[in-house]
């Protein structure tokens, strides 16, 4: 497949981020909010990876982890590992899967030590979290982010020119005039009038602000941009403008996007591959079309059937999920979805299903699909959902 030739930009492996809960009399550590719990995803050059899930499922945290805006509890994010290293990584993580719960080298059993050692040296070379401050600062230019809220993402006391020029200043790119020239280019690139440069953010509409945000992200010619719900605060009529700009830029500059959104139809329109998250874990990942045409995981199916479709003529029978998402502070045992799952089985509440590749490129973590590539899991899925 062509994935082998297209090089990786960033690859996250077994990311975990726990936020401690303090409580009790002396505000001692009484538990963890498992925002992200063992997420692996990789983004290749020039492709858009969609990350969908309901609010509080940890998708935003994944994005911030992959830019090292927060440091993970465990796990690594590798920046541009070569193909051979990628292969080694896959092998190592397959070896280490049984010990996934003991991420640090000490507690792992002897047979895993070798693998862990090898992993460590790879990490020292490629992992974002092992990089020194200087190297990290240089990388910052390559890894950028566009935020959801266009109203708090621009400093109200800076004029647009300074906002967009700030990354350039930080990295000391060129002289002042060169910087402002670049700013003007960027403004053109995102389709804004250059004489907006002297205005303050509050003089712009949401869509314009979002484009300014994009311009700021582009300033340092990045390779990878995390788009954190870039359009969910915008109106549909403006949303399309922003999305199209993003697509254009990608085709021009071969950018890699991580497109985080809860809006599945936008994700479908934007991305090449999609990861579905539930309570801090990836439950299904596949190229866009297979995922949307026949989703495997019951949650994905429910999610898709829950999306309202702007067409009054068709009426579908939907899978109605009962109740709310459980709190990530106390995730249910076994499969985290079993409390709401329409196709729940006794095993679900005990064993946590692994994420296995049941079709080429199509991974799913569900007990309905115990068997890897070869057999026909979709039928099993249909029957299970129906019954």
């Amino acid at each position: 497949m062509d994935d082998d030739v297209v090089p990786l930009v960033v690859a996250a492996r077994n990311l975990r981020k726990y936020y401690p809960i303090r409580g009790g009399l002396f505000s001692t550590h009484i538990g963890d909010v498992r925002a992200v719990d063992g997420v692996s995803l990789d983004v290749r050059e020039g492709e858009t990876v969609g990350l969908v899930g309901e609010s509080g499922c940890g998708k935003t945290t994944v994005g911030r982890l992959m830019l090292r805006l927060v440091d993970p509890t465990s796990g690594q994010t590798f920046y541009r590992p070569p193909a051979d290293v990628e292969a080694r990584l896959d092998r190592l993580y397959d070896q280490l899967r049984p010990y996934a719960d003991s991420p640090d080298a000490k507690s792992a059993p002897a047979e895993a030590q070798a693998a862990l050692g090898e992993l460590d040296e790879i990490a020292d070379q490629y992992s974002l979290y092992r990089m020194g401050p200087r190297k990290m600062r240089e990388l910052r230019g390559k890894l950028q982010i566009v935020f959801q809220d266009p109203f708090s993402s621009l400093s109200p006391r800076m004029i647009i020119r300074d906002v967009v020029a700030e990354p350039l200043e930080i990295h000391g790119v060129g002289t002042r005039t060169e910087r402002y020239q670049r700013v003007a280019e960027l403004m053109k690139a995102v389709g804004l009038n250059p004489d907006h440069l002297w205005r303050f953010p509050h003089e712009f509409s949401g869509g314009q602000r979002q484009r300014i945000g994009i311009a700021r992200a582009l300033a340092l010619r990045p390779e990878f941009i995390v788009l954190d719900e870039p359009t969910s605060a915008l109106d549909v009529s403006v949303q399309a403008q922003v999305l199209n700009i993003l697509k254009e830029l990608q085709s021009e500059q071969r950018l890699a996007y991580l497109f985080i959104s809860h809006h599945l139809s936008v994700v479908r329109a934007m991305s090449h591959r999609v990861f579905v998250m539930y309570l801090g874990q990836i439950v299904e990942s596949a190229p866009t079309d297979p995922l949307f045409s026949h989703p495997l995981h019951p949650y994905t199916q429910a999610l898709l059937s829950a999306i309202p479709i702007p067409d009054p003529t068709l009426n579908r029978d939907r899978i109605m999920l009962q109740g709310d998402v459980p709190s990530p502070a106390a995730p249910p045992p076994g499969c985290r979805f079993h409390t709401r799952c329409p196709a729940v089985m006794p095993i679900c509440s005990k064993v946590e299903p692994p994420l296995i590749e049941v079709q080429p490129q199509h991974r799913v973590a569900c007990h309905l699909y115990p068997n890897p590539i070869g057999s026909s899991p979709t039928l099993a899925a249909e029957s299970a959902v129906a019954g």
Binding site: E54, S55, S205, G206, G207, Q208, D235, V236, S237, V238, Q239, A240, Q241, L243, N244, H262, H263, L264, S265, V266, R268, A269, T288, D289, F292, A302, L303, L304, S305, A306, I307, P308, I309, P310, D311, P312, T313, L314, R318, M320, L321, Q322, G323, D324, V325
Partner: protein, 538 residues
């Protein structure tokens, strides 16, 4: 299981809201015209007077709500959807906002009667600001008049459920407040008429306990209802049901609890006296509301009657004074609180909440968004309103929760038959639940049509652009188009047709004057010069 498996509203509430024959529920909005129309809004104008100038948020909005029909109001941010919703019952903050002119006909009454006397406007020279001189006394009076309609006839649910509930009161208190406001009479009468010691109560209890031991949920429910009928108070059915479903069911140790629960209907003299005086106050409020409605219909104040009522009320208050003393009040109120609590629980069941008792006892910050939105809906429907205004009810919720809420609303539409005004920016939601759509742009309704009609052949360029710009799950490789430019600022809106700066078909005439609303086909109104149908309104 799906939301439709439970009764939506408890039977004993149907048609029990306190109201009088002069203004019957099935009265048409306007004396003349379609008797099916419950709300008739005619060129409503709402302006906001800010430092930067006069924001003409609504500039002549006209639409109708029909009985048992869901009308969707769709548009972009700042097009005035929510302002419309709030202007109908005058929930606009005043200052800075003001409903300037227009008529809202409801049960043959013009709700906005007397707007003109409320304020005088004086433009400030060489600035686009206007000096507003309000007569606060008149505005206060108008607000009081509105309280005759709010909640009881037209109730509203809001966008952000977690902030729309009062954080420091329990859910039961907040719904109970609405109940006492709109069903005070039936509650009090029910309490006074309860017969806890009737001979048939004993056997009913035995039957219930028998059913409770190993019985199915439905059987227990039926037995509880019978018990409630035996005691002549239906809310007791709910209480009894939850008592026997509680711990100790298997051994049937719940008899003492049931008997104790029955105890709350044995009113002591203090409580009876309290209830009676409470009843008198409620009656007075009812009369006052009737008077308000009467005024709004006749279009004339009746000061004499008001004086009479307020005099009686002050007398009542005087006699009611002792119940305000702390210890006494809590004691005297107890049965009433219990009653409202269990009615609340019943209502929460109605919106398919799995554990209504805990929810009723809980505080808003302990409940999830979806749960709170259900509570809000229950509260809004507690008074059996004719009209439910839902302002972006699902925007703050997740997709799966949104699906649940929409399901619930579809249900309510079929069962309760209230007219719903659904306000949203999401055309997909409209397509799911609405029967009619009104498309708003920059404070005006540019197109209104039955939902299928609109989605199949949108007429107004804006509606077309809007539909074209939605990414479709079912049409992945659809080219995403967008409407150029952005929403105009409403302080100095574009001349003529407000859409012309963004319109692909803009003609010279569009800049001169605003297009009239024309009728295309049977039921499809549009305001655009591209269409030459018969003119409905200027």
């Amino acid at each position: 299981m799906s939301a439709s498996s439970r009764p939506v509203l408890p039977p004993e509430f149907l048609g029990t809201t306190d109201q009088s024959p002069e203004f019957p529920r099935d009265a048409p909005a306007t004396a003349t015209g379609d008797s099916n129309v419950v709300l008739d809004v005619r060129n409503l104008r709402t302006y906001f007077f800010t430092y930067d100038g006069v924001v003409k948020a609504l500039d002549g909005v006209t639409f109708k709500l029909r009985r048992g029909e869901t009308t969707g109001l769709v548009g972009e941010t700042g097009c005035g959807k929510s302002v419309t919703a709030f202007s109908i019952t005058r929930l606009i903050g005043d200052p800075p906002g003001r409903v300037m002119s227009g008529n809202v006909y409801y049960r043959g009454i013009d709700l906005l009667w007397g707007l003109d006397e409320e304020a005088k406007y004086k433009p400030i020279p060489k600035s686009n600001r206007v000096k507003v001189k309000r007569s606060f006394r008149k505005i206060k009076a108008a607000m009081e008049r509105m309280s005759a309609v709010r909640g009881s006839g037209i109730s509203t649910i809001f966008q952000e459920p977690s902030s729309a509930m009062n954080p420091i009161f329990q859910v039961s208190d907040q719904i109970g407040e609405a109940l006492t406001l709109h069903q005070g009479l039936s509650i009090i009468d029910g309490l006074l008429a309860a017969t806890p010691d009737a001979p048939e109560v004993g056997p009913a209890i035995d039957a219930l306990i028998a059913a409770a031991i190993g019985g199915k949920r439905e059987e227990v429910r039926a037995a509880a209802v019978r018990l409630g009928e035996a005691a002549h108070i239906s809310s007791f059915a709910t209480e009894a049901f939850y008592i026997v479903r509680g711990p100790g069911t298997a051994a049937g140790e719940t008899r003492p609890d049931l008997v104790a629960a029955l105890g709350r209907f044995r009113l002591n003299p203090l409580q009876r006296a309290f209830l009676r005086s409470q009843r008198r106050l409620v009656e007075l409020r009812g009369e006052e509301h009737q008077l308000y409605l009467e005024e709004m219909r006749a279009g004339a104040l009746q000061r004499g009657k008001h004086r009479a009522i307020s005099a009686r009320r002050s007398r009542e208050r005087l006699s009611h004074f002792y119940y305000g003393i702390w210890g006494i009040r809590s004691r005297a109120r107890h049965p009433m609180k219990q009653e409202t609590f269990w009615r609340t629980v019943r209502l929460l069941e109605g919106v398919s909440i799995a554990n209504p008792v805990q929810v009723a006892k809980g505080y808003p910050h302990e409940l999830s968004g979806g749960m709170l939105q259900r509570v809000m809906i229950a509260m809004a429907l507690s008074s059996e309103p004719d009209i439910l205004i839902a302002d972006e009810p699902t925007t703050a919720l997740d997709v799966t929760i949104q699906a649940q809420i929409l399901e619930l609303m579809r249900d309510l539409k079929t069962r309760v038959g209230t007219a719903i005004l659904l306000i949203t920016h999401d055309l997909a939601v409209i397509a799911e639940v609405a029967d009619r759509v009104c498309v708003m742009y920059a404070g005006l309704i540019v197109e209104s049509a039955p939902v299928r009609e609109l989605f199949q052949r949108p007429l107004h360029p804006y509606a077309q652009g809007l539909l074209a710009s939605i990414p479709r799950l079912d049409q992945p490789d659809k080219e995403l188009t967008s409407i150029p430019g952005s929403v105009p600022n409403l302080i100095t809106p574009p001349t003529g047709c407000r859409f012309h700066p963004r319109c692909p078909y803009a003609m010279p005439v569009c800049k001169e004057q605003a297009p009239p609303t024309t009728l295309e086909g049977t039921d499809h109104e549009v305001a655009c010069y591209l269409y030459k149908g018969p003119v409905v309104a200027e």
